[in-house]
Symmetry: C2
Subunit: 369 residues, 2 copies
DNA sequence: AAGTCCGATGTGACCGATCACAATAGCCGA
DNA sequence: TCGGCTATTGTGATCGGTCACATCGGACTT
């Protein structure tokens, strides 16, 4: 073995197989002009010597890179983390290497830098563009770099070269809203995740359901991604007596909202119905268990990688990819609205059990930020 | 510019600065024998040409690699995800590139393969060895590869070359247990995360508190990492009337346990007190808000990277690293035990409000797995 | 004033792969 | 029988860095 680093190189394999190093290179890159017996000999030798192509050398020489860097503004929020998990699985399956780089929002220079540093070692990029930071990053990726993106919804004038994937959530948001209306609620409010385009698909689905039912559409609140935003916005909604149903942009927001309702003395689902979005693993264990719209981000991650790969493989077998579809999961956090006769007995809701306004908790949560 | 790939190379910089490429190499590697004026000229040229060293070439030539691969069995459980986040931040700060590879447990070949594939592109490795899969992976890393690990507790005969970091959680677990005892509970049960060594530090802290109080130590349940395990184990504990306080190995388990208690007709914290571990971001928004032991995994991730770096920098400034310390956070899920006189009125606890056994929910949760 | 040492810089080879191009062989038809 | 074509294989240069070693002054010894 020549390489003093312990691993076999392409020339070691060539020598052992009695061919030239170029032939070995052809074999590992599936080049057509290698005779079957030669190919087999080389493959056997590769196996025997436990040879693995060196990524650095390959990248340097301009060969296929087989590594991807994921750009995201966050790695621990459920949607992002689950997507990352799916991408990782897929890269592993295809022998790719996955890198991760967080892109800091709100600093144009930072975004450029992140993109640059992501391109350099990888060659291919996946952008999780659920939020503005991601979209900015996607926009800064030069056209020469293979890229795929996970987006909240298909863009109108989608650049054909920019392949993107998304979860079909419009119908499910509509269904969730209709579900609440069927339960007897006279309207449904919406605590949305932020959107830089003015409206998310889930928001449009919600709006459409209300409009089709001939109802006026309440002003949606853009509440951020985190539970604290849900709590804050929920606190405002809790003050309005006519709010009996809230569709939240994600499960964290829903949890915050439920807590805010609780602290305001309104119980869920007896007084207010709350539906989340995502179906985080814990959703079924909360009390009340969260009625929510399931989104399979892990599958989306896999699909996204597949899309990137099909772009890389330059036109071969561009099989139709199945995009995940969101799906309403009914549990406990939504139910019929309280009886109209009880509407004004705010501190003594339907069940007749007192739910005091939890002032201490309110103070604590405000303090903890 | 020579490089037809658009970026400047070390030779371009050399030509522009009027020095040899080797001098440029010396400058970017902080080699001492370069005269200050020359160094400055080169640095200016680098700036002007927007030169960035090529990772692939550097790795190929055996230079400093500046990239790390994180090996973990999971990337979305809170502790793992938060640690990853911390590592990512640190790598970004130091101009490193971070890769992630999931190591599948229970397949020795898979572990070896994961390690091998992690070493190849990176050169340095961080292992999140909170669980058995991680420990196995750590064990398979060849001694020649720079590595740092995050572990649940310092190992006894710790290999000096294997640098590892951990959170000091013993005292906090003890404090949490004592807190429950002070509230009046006659004993505290423990739903532990799994341990391959027989006992986690948090388990030892809990045990020690009980022993010092002269109490007998109940058999701990090793319940896995996920909420479903907490639910299952919690269901068993709920049947025992003398269980009034449970210390859970993490917050997810705590949530599952609370739900199990709820479904068994026992409310938290009125009938049973529950304390979690980790302080996940949502802990304060749950109802009841989780009393838990905070662990700063993000900080641990940063420390771990720092440790790896100090090993890489070969002996220079090995500053004492501050390990994170776990800390009890008191919220709502733990309180005084129910009055002894009410002990047997199981369906009508202290508050006099009926909490029916939630059979439907129980069935649903069992079905959803 | 000659010899020695050291700081600063330059030259050649190499890491492990790829690309472009050359070379060899075998087969066919004219 | 010979030229030409194609299928297969081999050779040299290259990617962008690093390492080992050579070179060259100038300061310091003796």
């Amino acid at each position: 073995m020549t390489g003093h680093r312990g691993t076999a190189s392409i020339r070691d394999v060539a020598r052992a197989a009695g061919v030239s190093y170029q032939t070995v290179s052809r074999v590992i890159n599936d080049h057509p002009s290698v005779s079957p017996p030669t190919r087999q000999t080389v493959l056997d030798t590769i196996e025997r010597l436990e040879y693995r192509p060196n990524r650095a050398a390959r990248a340097l020489a301009g060969g296929p890179v087989q590594s991807v860097t994921v750009l995201a503004s966050n790695t621990s929020l459920y949607g992002f983390a689950a997507a990352l998990e799916g991408i990782e699985e897929a890269t592993r399956e295809f022998g790719f290497v996955m890198g991760v780089r967080v892109v800091e929002p709100d600093t144009p220079a930072g975004v450029r830098d992140a993109v640059e540093r992501a391109i350099e070692p990888a060659g291919a990029i996946i952008v999780i563009a659920f939020d503005k930071a991601g979209v900015d990053a996607l926009a800064s990726v030069p056209a020469t770099v293979p890229v795929a993106a996970m987006v909240p919804a298909p863009t109108e004038g989608e650049h054909p070269a920019r392949s993107s994937v998304w979860i079909d959530e419009y119908a499910a948001a509509k269904e969730a809203t209709n579900y609440l209306l069927r339960l007897g609620h006279t309207t449904v409010h919406h605590l949305s995740i932020p959107s830089w385009t003015g409206a998310t698909k889930r928001m449009l689905g919600w709006r459409s359901a209300l409009q089709e039912a001939g109802l006026s559409v309440p002003k949606p609140l853009l509440a951020g991604w985190e539970a604290s935003w849900g709590y804050e916005a929920g606190g405002k909604l809790a003050k309005k007596r006519d709010v009996t149903a809230v569709l939240c942009g994600n499960d964290d927001i829903a949890v915050g909202c439920i807590r805010a309702m609780h602290d305001a003395g309104r119980s869920v689902p007896e007084d207010v119905s709350i539906i989340g979005f995502d179906d985080v693993p814990l959703a079924q264990f909360y009390t009340p268990a969260l009625t929510t719209v399931r989104q399979d981000f892990k599958a989306l991650g896999r699909v996204c990688f597949a899309k990137l790969l099909s772009g890389l493989a330059n036109g071969t077998r561009e099989q139709r990819l199945r995009y995940p579809v969101a799906q309403l999961v009914i549990r406990e956090s939504a139910g019929p609205p309280p009886k109209p006769s009880h509407r004004h007995a705010t501190t003594l809701p339907a069940h007749g059990r007192a739910v005091p306004v939890n002032k201490r908790a309110f103070a604590r949560l405000s303090k903890e930020k």
